[in-house]
């Protein structure tokens, strides 16, 4: 069996990470050799020849000190800038990224596609398409790690974390849980299948089932959200139309961008952020909905936009009849 010495480069970012690696290795090899060879040379050249030998003291060389302070510092600043720039790319999913939801749970990964496909410990994705993962955990901290993509992100209970990648090469890649999560942490592993787009489409249509939005719509009625949240914003609750992506004014000042995290919070802890002009009447659905169902609801709320394209980033929550389309300018 052959020994792999280098991980596969299967994502757009992996190339950049590896380039940084080469730089770091080069610097390290240089300095390591410098030190090793210097020590070796001095040790031989100036070895003690007689027990009573007493060399004359050499004292501080200021220029040297300055040199070996400034040069290393310069080099580290390059390392910092380079690492940081990659990190920024890794942190900002492209807008066109396709959404996948991940729920970590002691010893398993639950993944949900928008189209409704639910997988466990397996993730099928198309190559050449950015994939954005919105992740949370039902219990302890886990970490979503795909070495071939050079991506890793902790999955923290009680909140969402995000990561993204763009597979460049079809194949089957390791998925590891990288944050220690107790017994069988090492069993919380799986595979990522990067497929040609058409194969991916086939795979998707393979098993028929309702999309997340549909499931969400169902829940929205089952959980009686509809009774309060009317699309026209009438009644004591804001309409949820065009909530997603908007900037919500909150009671007691402050605004918040209505992203997945905010909607999740609105469902599980409504009172934490109350929309301006409304009373905290909304009951918490903590315990009544699983993280997966929350995801469905979020997708439904996101789908509630007449024309998603129009008014990309409006402010909502004015005192009078907030939520009514009129109030959204």
């Amino acid at each position: 069996m052959q020994i792999p010495l280098f991980p596969e480069q299967a994502s757009s970012i992996s190339v950049e990470v590896d380039r940084l690696l080469y730089f770091l290795v080069a610097v390290s090899v240089f300095f390591t050799l410098l030190i090793f060879l210097a020590i070796f040379y001095f040790a031989v050249r100036y070895r003690r020849r007689s027990e009573s030998e007493l060399p004359s003291a050499v004292h501080t060389g200021l220029t040297l000190e300055i040199l070996w302070t400034v040069i290393p510092f310069g080099i580290t600043m390059i390392m910092f800038a380079w690492g940081a720039s990659i990190f920024f790319t890794e942190s900002r999913p492209p807008d066109d990224a396709m959404q996948i939801y991940v729920v970590g749970k002691q010893r398993m990964w639950k993944l949900q596609h928008m189209e409704g496909n639910r997988e466990i410990n397996e993730l099928h994705i198309p190559v050449g398409r950015s994939v954005k993962l919105t992740m949370t955990s039902e219990d302890v901290i886990h970490s979503f790690f795909v070495p071939a993509f050079r991506t890793k992100q902790d999955v923290v209970p009680g909140r969402y974390t995000t990561t993204w990648f763009k597979a460049t090469k079809p194949g089957k890649y390791h998925l590891f849980c990288a944050e220690y999560c107790g017994t069988n942490h090492s069993a919380m592993i799986g595979w990522v299948y990067a497929m040609e787009p058409q194969d991916y489409q086939q795979w998707l249509s393979g098993t028929p089932k309702g999309t997340l939005t549909e499931a969400g719509a169902q829940l929205f009625t089952d959980l009686a959200c509809v009774n309060c949240h009317h699309t026209d914003g009438s009644g004591r609750c804001p309409s949820l139309v065009n909530v997603y992506g908007s900037t919500v004014r909150l009671a007691g000042g402050g605004t918040v961008k209505a992203d997945e995290a905010y909607i999740r919070e609105s469902i599980l802890n409504p009172a934490t952020k109350v929309v301006e002009g409304y009373q905290p009447l909304m009951p918490t659905f903590q315990g009544q909905v699983t993280e997966e169902q929350v995801v469905d609801l979020i997708e439904y709320v996101k789908s509630l936009a007449q024309k998603p394209a129009e008014q990309p980033n409006q402010t909502r929550g004015q005192a009078q009849g907030a939520g009514s389309p009129a109030a959204r300018k």
């Binding site: 900002r92 919105t134 992740m135 974390t161 995000t162 961008k257 992203d259 995290a261």
Partner: protein, 103 residues
């Protein structure tokens, strides 16, 4: 090496006055708490607390007479407390700045 620390003995009067000041400030801060100063209520409350701390430290703990080294130690301690608070907050107050959930 060890500077001779000559004893400074404050009068009972000084201590009594400091005590009165401390009690006064306690009453003050309690009353102010019921006034709506918006965000300033925090500032005021802490400002008063710091004043009280200074009184206790300078007079009761004789920092007024203490060696430079002691003062350095105290300032160091406060500085490190600041490091702990500020750098921790640097995370919590910049969450979601780039508008990606959990970043």
């Amino acid at each position: 090496m060890t500077p001779h620390t000559s004893e400074h003995i404050d009068s009972t009067k000084t201590y009594a006055l400091v005590l009165l000041a401390l009690l006064g400030l306690t009453v003050l801060t309690t009353l102010v708490a019921f006034v709506d100063l918006g965000d300033f209520s925090v500032v005021v409350a802490l400002a008063i607390a710091v004043t009280k701390m200074l009184l206790v430290a300078l007079f009761f703990m004789h920092v007024r007479y203490s060696t430079k080294l002691t003062r350095l130690v105290i300032l160091g301690g406060l500085l490190w407390l600041a490091i702990l608070l500020l750098l921790t907050l640097s995370d919590f107050f910049t969450r979601n700045w780039i508008g990606v959930p959990g970043k």
